[in-house]
């Protein structure tokens, strides 16, 4: 089996390095960072923290170098999905492409360029600490299922899930992957922008009862949009919020959106709160709190762009 990880940041690296330890899987890592690519080809891709792994994927920044692949795993930030998949689509002419990204709309973007698409959600997290080195912060499950409009065949999805699981990234193949995806989107949309707007870590957000209630308002709006589509959340996002606030989990964690704001990078808010608002509008479900939060974060982005 040949797999190409598209976007080899923290999450992409977790997949690439772990899968590269399997003898029956050939892994390619496609990333725009030359430094990262060179380091991987020279020293391998090293994971530290939750697991110590050195994988040796073939890394490249040149899409023309990619051979035909059985599977793609897209792990870029959501705003880079479109250009990334456009660049590498030829490698997946006969393959299936999974997204393990945050937010809503990635499957649609991928499906504009490839035939067989896998809707995925992943909970493991980490950060790139140096070229070729990724700190693995949190282990977690990955769920893979068909993207309804351009589905990958169930047996292929099961094949990819099996490979991930054998590689130490537990994954399950399901018929409807929307439940876990919406749980994670709702969790992220209800907490990340609150960190981004206030500068508080996840734990400190949850300690302020009025902010915690605001997170619940955002959860409720998101849940209503999911329910209007007949999506059954696989678990309560509220539980995930409280779990993550524990000192031994993510109390001190600065949401990626806060990290983006501090670095003056554009955020994923369009694919989180913006995604929920978009679905809400199409379905006639009001989402006033998400609209307000979306507008405020876009305002922040505009403030440092000027």
């Amino acid at each position: 089996m040949r797999v190409c990880v598209v976007g080899c940041g923290a999450v992409g690296s977790l997949f690439a390095a772990n899968l590269a330890t399997l003898e029956d899987v050939e892994v390619w890592a496609f990333d725009v960072s030359r430094e990262h690519v060179d380091a991987i080809n020279r020293d391998g891709l090293r994971l530290t923290g939750a697991g110590d792994v050195v994988g040796r994927p073939h890394a490249t920044s040149d899409a023309a170098e990619l051979p035909a692949c059985d599977f793609g795993i897209v792990a870029t930030k959501a705003m880079h999905t479109e250009p990334a998949i456009r660049a590498v689509a030829a490698a997946f002419a006969d393959g299936c492409v999974a997204t393990v990204q945050n937010g809503l709309g990635n499957e649609e973007a991928i499906a504009r360029h490839v035939e067989r698409v896998i809707r995925g959600t992943t909970f493991p997290a980490g950060k790139v600490t140096a070229p070729g080195v990724v700190q693995w912060d949190v282990k977690g499950e990955t769920t893979l299922g068909p993207f309804e409009e351009r589905p990958a065949p169930a047996e292929r999805i099961a094949e990819l899930a099996d490979a991930c699981t054998r590689a130490g990234m537990p994954a399950s193949a399901v018929a409807d992957a929307r439940g876990p995806q919406w749980r994670k989107v709702i969790f992220n949309a209800a907490t990340n922008p609150l960190g981004a707007l206030t500068g508080l870590t996840h734990g400190r957000i949850c300690e302020r009862l009025d902010l915690r209630r605001l997170a619940s308002t955002l959860v409720d709006e998101g849940r209503a949009v999911a329910e209007a589509q007949g999506i059954v959340l696989d678990a309560d996002p509220e539980e995930l919020i409280d779990y993550a606030a524990r000192p031994d989990v993510a109390y001190d964690h600065k949401a990626s959106m806060l990290q983006d704001v501090e670095a003056h990078r554009s955020t994923e808010v369009d694919y989180l709160n913006g995604g929920i608002v978009g679905f809400g509008r199409r379905l006639g479900v009001p989402t006033p709190a998400h609209e307000a939060i979306w507008a405020l974060v876009k305002g922040m982005e505009a403030a440092w762009a000027q």
Partner: protein, 305 residues
């Protein structure tokens, strides 16, 4: 009125003091001794729309100042209670005028003494360059209305005096329509600026694209207008029109709440958005967006300290 004391010499206090010193005996009550010394030694300079030099008597203790007929309390609302406490047992015959943002400044003063009170809101703005130099930027008016123990005539007298000093002022029978217009405007514009880091500019009135900020600004103002209506206040000006007009001038204004957040200071959000949320509760009107802004600004304050 021959003798006036301005209590609190930030931008607004300094603008009042620099102008009114031209037409009355003027004293300034400040918090820092070095500020009092600088004012007494060098006087106060106004640049910008007015070019004035003013001689003033300044002190940190009311005991050291001549007894005024009018006290203009011009500190920020966050300092109001402390400042009013320092005025206790002084100058019982004076009229005390508040100029703070939000609602209820006169009630805070009333807890500390039996003075007759005037309420006002001011739209003038400036930039404070140092302890003795303030620049007069926007020459918009101060609106004055009666509060405890005063009448329209008292408000007129003070408005006349302020106008004679070169500033704009107008008196009203009832200040609330003007005060509420400014409240709804500030509760919206100041919190949006504080949270986004944007100056108040044309983006606050933009409603073309779905993510344009004007949608949120307008929704916040609609909530505020509903509270005013339920409270029985007919707004003097439509806050959305005030917003459009202000941003059409092409200038980019950084509201004080933005500056406070940036500097890690306490903001006036309790007095501004807090007043509106409390009034909404009393009137039984839901203001979920203002509650959201309030929570986010309070949390941002906490994160910066």
């Amino acid at each position: 009125m021959k003798s006036i004391c301005v209590a609190g010499a930030g931008v607004i206090g300094s603008l009042f003091a620099g102008h009114l010193a031209q037409v009355a005996e003027l004293s300034v009550l400040v918090r820092r001794p070095e500020h009092a010394r600088a004012l007494s030694e060098h006087g106060l300079r106004v640049s910008g729309r007015s070019k004035l030099a003013a001689r003033v008597t300044a002190a940190t203790d009311p005991e050291e100042l001549p007894e005024p007929e009018l006290v203009i309390v011009a500190c920020k609302s966050t300092d109001l209670d402390r400042l009013a406490a320092r005025l206790e047992h002084h100058w019982p015959d004076a009229i005390v005028m508040t100029v703070q943002n939000g609602l209820g400044a006169d009630e805070v003063i009333a807890r500390h003494g039996d003075w007759r009170l005037l309420a006002s809101v001011t739209f003038m703005s400036g930039t404070r360059h140092d302890d003795t130099h303030v620049e007069y930027v926007l020459d918009t008016a101060t609106w004055i209305g009666p509060a405890r123990g005063t009448t329209r005539a008292d408000a007129e007298a003070v408005a006349l005096l302020i106008r004679s000093s070169g500033l704009q002022a107008e008196a009203f029978d009832d200040l609330r329509p003007a005060q509420w217009s400014k409240l709804v405007f500030n509760a919206t514009v100041n919190t949006v600026a504080a949270l986004t880091g944007l100056p108040h500019d044309a983006r606050f009135a933009a409603v073309e694209a779905p993510t344009d900020l004007g949608h949120l600004v307008r929704a916040l103002m609609e909530e505020g207008k509903a509270v005013a209506a339920a409270t029985g206040v007919a707004l003097r000006e439509d806050p959305w029109e005030m917003n459009v007009l202000a941003t059409q001038r092409g200038s980019a204004h950084y509201p004080s709440m933005f500056e406070d957040i940036k500097a890690g200071r306490a903001t006036e959000v309790d007095m501004i958005t807090g007043s509106l949320v409390r009034a909404a509760r009393d009137a039984g009107v839901a203001v979920p967006l203002h509650e959201t802004m309030y929570r986010l600004v309070k949390a941002k304050e906490a994160a910066r300290r």
